[in-house]
């Protein structure tokens, strides 16, 4: 491990922000270390975008403080901008310009010397796999390709820290996978990435995560460890009729609501052996088909659902 790996790139302590009566951020705390991929995970309305805007100095907090690359976003936003790439949810590409022209344009905005521009543009086209499409107008790109072009424009000034706000929302599964492969390349190049997503499967691809909900931190840590801190054990039922099965299994062996995961139903239980027996018996009595019933590992989504169902949450 390199010595600078523990360097704190972003720190947030007790950060608050309200819009009128709406408390968007109640008490946000987190630390992003150099070179890591950090995920801020939560649904819409959990405060993710507000936090990112505070970090680049677009908003002034109501309380608490933040440091980005050692600078205070409230008073030193200009210093932050030169080393940070920020990709908002709706990144403004020029639909009438081609892919290559959009990159050139952002290179000019960031005052990249002319000699450098062509080299950087070519490198980014290669890196984003957009080379074959460089002469296509941005307005005619698919959703996934637009996101890759937006990311490339964000990278034009070679930032040390990349802040991405839901880059894969509304993007199909194949394009999402490709986007995360590009983030892998960035990590290898040592770029620190702070990314928000509502997809729990993407959370698992981060080095460390913070789960947020309604402006507060629910849990933080390495994805596997956050999932493993689930307080009960999980019994999984594989079934061709997931919804009927979930309904039939509600409350079996004290499990509360059965949670659906595609063709799997998850039951949160304390005694696995008893529950395996009772679940099987109940499904047979209800004449519902199943392909397997077994203990499984709790997923991040199990943990998230568990945490947001708590009446009060502690960090």
């Amino acid at each position: 491990m390199k010595s600078n790996d523990q360097e704190i790139i972003v720190s947030v302590a007790g950060l608050q922000k309200s819009y009128g009566e709406v408390e968007a951020l109640k008490d946000m705390n987190l630390e992003v270390r150099a070179g890591e991929r950090f995920g801020l995970i939560g649904p819409d309305g959990s405060g993710k975008t507000t936090l990112l805007r505070l970090l680049i100095g677009l908003l002034v907090p109501g309380g608490g403080e933040a440091r980005v690359l050692g600078f205070d976003p409230v008073t030193q936003a200009e210093k932050i901008k030169s080393d940070v790439g920020y990709m908002p949810q709706r990144f403004s590409l020029y639909p009438d310009l081609t892919v290559a022209e959009n990159l050139q344009f952002f290179a000019q905005v960031y005052r990249i010397p002319k000699a450098e521009r062509l080299r950087l543009t070519e490198r980014l086209l290669k890196f984003s796999r957009l080379g074959p499409f460089q002469d296509r107008r941005a307005g005619a790109l698919s959703g996934g390709m637009k996101q890759k072009l937006a990311l490339s424009c964000t990278l034009i000034h070679t930032p040390r820290l990349l802040i991405l706000d839901e880059p894969t929302t509304g993007v199909d599964p194949v394009s999402r996978e490709e986007f995360w492969n590009i983030l892998d390349d960035l990590r290898r190049q040592g770029v620190t990435v702070l990314v928000t997503t509502p997809y729990m499967d993407e959370a698992a691809l981060c080095d460390r995560i913070t789960l947020v909900y309604q402006g507060k931190v629910l849990a933080s840590g390495i994805p596997d460890e956050v999932a493993a801190s689930f307080p009960r054990r999980i019994v999984q039922v594989f079934t061709p009729q997931p919804q009927e099965t979930a309904r039939a299994l509600a409350g079996v062996c004290g499990s509360g609501a059965a949670q659906l995961f595609g063709d799997r139903v998850h039951l949160a239980v304390t005694d696995v052996d008893v529950c395996l027996r009772e679940t099987r018996a109940r499904l047979i009595a209800a004449q519902l088909p199943f392909t397997a019933i077994r203990e499984g590992k709790p997923s991040l989504e199990d943990m998230f659902v568990h945490l947001i169902q708590q009446p009060t949450t502690n960090d």
Partner: protein, 257 residues
């Protein structure tokens, strides 16, 4: 079983580009049908044709037996439509949004009031009926958007990425509601990028570069392609064809309209 939605060689071209290339399908009344596909595959173009918003270039489609090419306005009356960007008026109160949509569909005053009370009860919105819509959490707005789409009691409901961004519990509740509607005979035609949600559909189709690459129940498709999840089926189908289009016919399938 009666057919709610039918397409026969339905095609739409924009200039030289074929966005929807001769698709054929049938969706039964009361079925939950998942309409999946890559970005730019032609899903939105197809939905716009089914909803009577865009005329087909070739082929035909019928919704509730009505030809979308010949009677687009009649089609709009028998369907409900809800998109990811819930088309709600944030400044209006919850019940005023419902009044507004009842007006759009020309419900009589009596029908409008009766349906309003019904959907408020059905979606648990009675307690917030006087709230300003913009102040509601996203999950509640989603329920109001669905209530608005159902105010005229349509038998066919089109949902375009209805669950983007909502939390996992609201997502599950939403699908429970969808299945309750289907059990009452409402046909649901839904797009989503969440592959776990595809498993909750009776049947799905996967669209790629303007054509339907696969259609069947989730179990059938997983068996057909030897995969354990719909996510894997999707990646298998779309990725294979993307490699072809990148190296064979550059980019034809990836354009979005």
């Amino acid at each position: 079983m009666s057919i709610a939605i039918k397409a026969e060689n339905l095609t739409r071209r924009f200039g030289k580009f074929t966005a929807v290339n001769s698709i054929s399908l049938e969706v039964a009344q009361g079925e939950v049908f998942g309409f999946l596909g890559a970005n730019g595959a032609g899903k939105t173009t197809a939905i716009r044709m089914f909803c009577g918003l865009l005329a087909p270039t070739e082929g035909q489609a019928w919704v509730s037996g009505i030809s979308v090419a010949h009677f687009p306005r009649a089609v709009k009356k028998v369907i409900g439509y809800m998109s990811q960007k819930f088309s709600l008026y944030d400044e209006l109160r919850v019940e005023e949004n419902l009044d507004f949509f009842a007006g759009v569909y020309n419900l009589s005053k009596q029908d409008a009031n009766q349906r309003k009370e019904e959907v408020l009860a059905q979606f648990g919105l009675q307690d917030v009926r006087r709230r300003i819509t913009g102040s509601l959490p996203l999950g509640w707005k989603q329920r109001l958007a669905l209530a608005s789409a159902l105010i005229h009691n349509p038998r066919i409901l089109f949902l375009d990425e209805p669950t983007g961004g909502v939390d996992p519990i609201a997502r599950r509740n939403f699908w429970e509601t969808i299945h309750n509607l289907a059990a009452k005979g409402v046909t649901i035609f839904v797009t989503t990028h969440y592959m776990d949600e595809a498993e909750y559909c009776h049947r799905i189709s996967i669209m790629d570069q303007g054509v339907i690459a696969a259609i069947g129940s989730p179990q059938e498709l997983k068996a057909q392609y030897g995969k354990s999840t719909i996510q894997e089926v999707f990646v298998h189908l779309i990725k294979g064809s993307q490699i072809e289009s990148h190296f064979g016919l550059p980019g034809i399938g990836s354009t979005s309209y």
